[in-house]
């Protein structure tokens, strides 16, 4: 992973969103207590802290997935990042500028040129055709007709809807509508791409297909992405890092394998309990120092999933890990077994706690 080498694109610092009448005032009261006490005080006052003291960074070109059950505040959080919902407090720093300090006009400019968003419910304009929908963000910023059409056609082609340009949203299936939503969000060439449960409203098979297409798009576009989902398998598939939320708070941030191998608490452990472990952990996660005679020949990279090594591990004791041709470590069957055993023991504990 080269995360550290990349610059931070979007940073969110102590963001709060409290709903309810007089929430601003209730929130502004002096705080000397813990986060827990503060949340309890807000709830007692009839307020709903949907997002509580959330901080994280998103690096350029990174795909950050925000995950949680419904009601955990993830949709509100992503709206705070674009100020579709006005945060109660905190900073959202995008390319070095605090979005909270922007005027409405400046914010509109940022949205016009730098941000794109895909919605769970699609949010297509019913009175416009596919092409007009995709061209809409260009139209509102005053791009000329010919240029608009060219860019929109390009985007429609990119999401595989060529030939349906003149259809109206209601004539399309759910999957097709979301393709239009994706094309529209990409039309202005945004740097930052928000996707709010984009595939949750779709059938399982279509969802899988759309996820694959999303990965294909991302491989060529390399956008900075904040992706919301409640499906951990979806998160595994696409995330560089995952933020797990519960009741408005961040429970854990890490690579998918980190969450599986070292869940911060039982909530996370239960989330990841059904995960196909061998697909998540990589050679790097179970890396051991090289012992004895192990040749660099046939070495794999650290990011190789263990699943891909199973056949080899059945035959040989150790598979070498190489970096730029140099031997750096090895994967052994015993090491893999240990990791699996630890994870399943944790999952068992999770169950007993829940039953008790």
């Amino acid at each position: 992973m080269t995360d550290k080498a990349r610059s931070t694109k979007l940073a969110c610092r102590n963001v709060w969103k409290v709903f309810g009448e007089g929430a601003e005032r209730a929130f502004a009261k002096p705080v000397q207590r813990s986060l827990e006490a503060r949340l309890a005080a807000l709830r007692d006052g009839g307020h709903v802290p949907a997002v509580a003291d959330v901080s994280f960074d998103v690096a350029e070109g990174e795909c950050l997935v925000i995950m949680g059950l419904s009601g955990s505040g993830k949709s509100t959080l992503v709206r705070c990042l674009s100020r579709l919902v006005e945060p109660t407090s905190g900073e959202v720093i995008f390319e070095g500028r605090d979005l909270m300090r922007l005027s409405r006009r400046e914010l509109t400019e940022v949205r016009r040129h730098k941000m794109g968003m895909v919605f769970q419910a699609f949010g297509l304009l019913p009175h416009l055709t596919v092409l007009e929908n995709v061209a809409f963000p260009l139209q509102v910023q005053g791009v000329g007709e010919a240029e608009r059409r060219k860019r929109a056609l390009e985007m429609v082609g990119l999401v595989g809807l060529a030939g349906r340009e003149d259809a109206y949203p209601r004539q399309l299936s759910g999957g097709q509508q979301q393709r239009v939503g994706i094309a529209r969000s990409l039309a202005v060439g945004p740097d930052l791409w928000f996707l709010d449960e984009p595939f949750s409203a779709l059938d399982p098979l279509i969802r899988k297909q759309m996820q694959d297409e999303f990965l294909r798009l991302q491989r060529t576009l390399r956008k900075t992405i904040v992706f919301i989902t409640h499906d951990f398998l979806e998160a595994l598939k696409i995330a560089d890092r995952v933020v797990i939320m519960r009741d408005g708070r961040v429970v854990q941030i890490g690579r998918p394998a980190d969450l599986v191998l070292n869940p911060a608490d039982e909530y996370v452990a239960r989330f990841v309990a059904d995960v196909p472990l061998l697909r998540v952990i990589t050679a790097g996660d179970v890396e051991e120092p090289v012992g004895g005679a192990c040749a660099a020949h046939g070495g794999v990279s650290r990011s190789t999933p263990i699943e891909a090594l199973l056949a080899r591990l059945a035959d040989v004791a150790a598979v070498p890990i190489t970096e730029d041709g140099a031997l750096v470590g090895q994967v052994t069957s015993a090491g893999v077994m240990k990791a699996v055993a630890a994870a399943s023991a944790r999952a068992d504990r999770g169950w007993t706690v829940e039953r008790a």
């Binding site: 579709l84 016009r112 040129h113 794109g116 419910a121 949010g123 304009l125 019913p126 009175h127 928000f194």
Partner: protein, 697 residues
């Protein structure tokens, strides 16, 4: 739940527990008992004492007069400003060759809803032309064409303000509520005083009247724009203005067009009614004139013009509203050119051939005389039957409800007088029925209801002691809607009583109550039948559509022909209009009961009747309540129009005030009706909500 909860355990001691609601009702019953017996001799308990009334009507009259002084100039200027566009529209519509007007109407109908409506429109145009109603029809259409855009623009503006600002929304909703419930004639009076007489005043009244539906639909449509669509617009970088005009407005378009459709229909109905204040030679005036002169043939023929026009306008505008939900089919420029050329050719033809320009009078034909002769023959043949029907309804239904059995049972109508033994028997039967409901069913609410109805029937709405009536209504309101609704009920009745309208209100109440009971009984049965039988439903639908579309005024004509002036005629007219909602709502409610539940009960072996009785009707209750609510509102609004054929009470008071341009009296009576309407609306909605909650949905 039973009023007395008696512990039946062997060891447990006897326990008596009274629900608080039952305590209230026992108090109400005791109050009534005292009023009708011990206080029986006190006149102040029966007729609300004149000495207690306040000169509210005079106050309002003075206030309006004070307001008019400085502002009248302004209002009269509006009148003057509208005169020019009205005459221009009349000149254009009246002057255009009939072939052109007809062709445009037919094309619009075709575009809106296809060939059938186009053919119907052509037939209506032919009827209007041949019947000789072209000129007044064009005048009416000119008025509609002027009032509609005004109403649409103001209504849209109000709707947008209401949607944007939560604070303003509340005020706007109250205003719209008042405008919907104050009878039309009542607010014709201040408009008359402010804007003066003449055809333009009718247009202003129509425009104001029709603001409501547009404002309501605008708020509804904008509120219904999905959040995701709005957020997508914001994320696309829309400015506020772009967000409104490019995202919210087009997304709400269908609902806005529904608003336009309802606005046109409201304008049309009001333009017809505005004929009462006179001025223009339009179709409403023709109908009114023929009705006043008892020329029923002519009245029927011109009334038919109104009904047919209403159907064409409604279906055409509704067609455009519905079409906007489907993908837009834009007309190609070639089609447009062809149409334009065809219209130009027609115009040239009309210029060359005068018969195509102005419809020749020798081509017109009116069967009015034949119709009149036929009608006379019909009355001569069936007059006895008609009178018999009317009289029995009056003696056995209307009078008992109005003045009570105690006065209505007379040798003249019934052939005997009530003896003390009969009275004792009547009360014994009522008491036994109530007691049976209490003891065997444990249903104390039913017991009180039985006693209440017996009381009402015995003394009539105008005969019952007013403190008792006030107590019953207030207790009902309190029970269904809590303390606030109870207080509103008290305030509303206080206004009616202290403004001196109590007697009138009770006169109106009896007529409306009777009409509502008939509507619910007949309409409810038809609704159930229609829900269970697709053929019945299909047969009823066009009838209901027509009854709902045509202006209320037209309904009076055939009833008036058959039964002459009087309250019975008014009753039938009200029933004809107010029977639509119970049929519609009952059918809708019964049909929409979840099929899983019906399937489950069928599987358990319920017969069709059992399913209806135990499953469908209870589950449809919230919808049925809403239907009852709409029935009452419809009855009250028709009551105001029915004043034209002779009623007593509030509506008549308004009509009289209108002829004298007495703003104070008219508004007091109008507000009284509005308060009754609002009170019953709040009570039934609260009740429906409770029923809905009880069903857990």
């Amino acid at each position: 739940m039973s009023v007395l909860d008696i512990g039946r355990g062997e060891a447990a001691p006897m326990r008596l527990r009274l629900e608080p609601a039952a305590v209230v009702w026992i108090c109400v019953a005791l109050l009534i008992l005292w009023c009708e017996t011990a206080g029986g001799g006190v006149a102040a308990l029966h007729a609300f004492p004149k000495a207690w009334t306040l000169p509210i009507a005079t106050w309002i009259g003075d206030a309006v007069a004070a307001l008019i002084g400085p502002t009248q100039g302004f209002f009269r200027q509006i009148t003057a400003a509208l005169t020019l566009p009205l005459s221009a529209l009349q000149a254009v519509l009246g002057g255009a060759p009939w072939v052109i007007t007809t062709a445009v109407a037919v094309l619009l109908a075709f575009r809106a809803k296809g060939a059938r409506l186009a053919a119907f429109t052509a037939a209506v145009a032919a009827y209007v032309l041949v019947g000789g109603y072209w000129a007044p029809t064009m005048n009416t259409l000119a008025a509609v064409a002027l009032a509609t855009p005004i109403a649409v623009l103001i209504g849209f503006g109000l709707g947008v303000i209401g949607y944007r600002h939560a604070a303003a929304r509340h005020g706007i909703l109250v205003l719209l509520d008042l405008m919907q419930t104050v009878p039309t004639f009542a607010y014709l009076i201040p408009i008359l005083v402010l804007f003066g007489f003449g055809p333009v005043v009718g247009i202003i009244a129509s425009a104001i009247y029709a603001i409501g539906p547009m404002a309501n639909n605008t708020m509804l449509g904008l509120a219904q724009v999905p959040l995701a669509v709005r957020e997508a617009g914001e994320m696309s970088g829309c400015t506020r203005r772009q967000l409104f005009w490019r995202v919210e407005f087009p997304s709400a378009r269908s609902q806005l067009l529904v608003g336009v459709n309802q606005t046109v229909m409201a304008v049309f109905a009001m333009v017809i009614i505005a004929a009462v204040i006179g001025g223009a030679d339009d179709i409403g005036f023709r109908v009114l004139q023929t009705m006043r002169q008892a020329q029923f043939g002519q009245g029927l023929l011109s009334g038919l013009v109104i009904a047919l026009l209403a159907i064409v306008i409604d279906r055409t505008t509704a067609g455009f509203a519905a079409a906007s939900r489907a993908p837009v089919r834009r007309l190609s420029s070639r089609t447009l050119t062809v149409i334009a050329c065809a219209l130009a050719a027609l115009y040239v033809a009309a210029w060359l051939q005068p018969a195509l320009d102005a419809f020749p009078t020798e081509w017109t034909y009116s069967p009015a005389e034949a119709l009149n002769r036929w009608l006379l023959a019909f009355v001569a043949r069936f007059g006895d039957v008609m009178i018999a029907i009317k009289n029995s309804a009056i003696f056995f239904l209307m009078l008992p409800l109005r003045i009570g059995l105690i006065k209505a049972v007379s040798p003249f109508g019934w052939g005997f007088t009530l003896t003390p033994a009969m009275i004792a028997g009547y009360w014994a039967v009522a008491t036994i029925a109530a007691g049976a409901a209490l003891l065997f069913g444990g249903r104390w609410r039913a017991a009180f209801a039985i006693l209440g109805v017996a009381w009402m029937l015995f003394l009539g709405t105008t005969g019952v002691a007013w403190p008792g009536f006030v107590a019953v209504v207030a207790a009902l309101a309190w029970q269904v809607g809590g303390a606030r609704l109870g207080a509103f009920a008290l305030a509303a009745m206080a206004f009616i009583a202290f403004s001196g309208s109590w007697g009138d209100a009770m006169q109106s109440l009896y007529l409306c109550a009777l009409a509502v009971v008939i509507c619910v009984a007949v309409g409810g049965a038809l609704g159930v039948w229609a829900a269970e039988n697709d053929h019945v439903s299909a047969c009823l639908r066009p009838v209901l559509d027509t009854l709902q579309t045509i202006p209320q005024f037209v309904l009076l004509i055939p009833v008036l022909m058959l039964f002459q002036v009087g309250e019975f005629t008014a009753l039938i007219a009200i029933v004809m209009y107010a029977i639509v909602p119970p049929i519609r709502y009952v059918e809708h409610g019964v049909r929409n009961v979840s099929p899983e539940v019906v399937e489950a009960s069928r599987q358990m072996g319920c017969s069709r009747l059992q399913i209806l009785r135990h499953v469908k009707l209870p589950m449809a209750l919230p919808s049925i309540m809403l239907g009852l609510n709409q029935t009452i509102l419809a009855a009250l609004s028709m009551l105001a129009i029915a004043a034209l054929v002779g009623t007593q009470g509030l509506a008549q008071a308004i009509y009289v005030a209108l002829s004298k341009a007495d703003v104070g009296k008219g508004l007091v009576a109008g507000l009284s009706i509005a308060l009754i309407a609002m009170l019953s609306d709040r009570m039934l909605k609260a009740w429906s909500r409770r029923a809905q909650e009880a069903l857990g949905s």
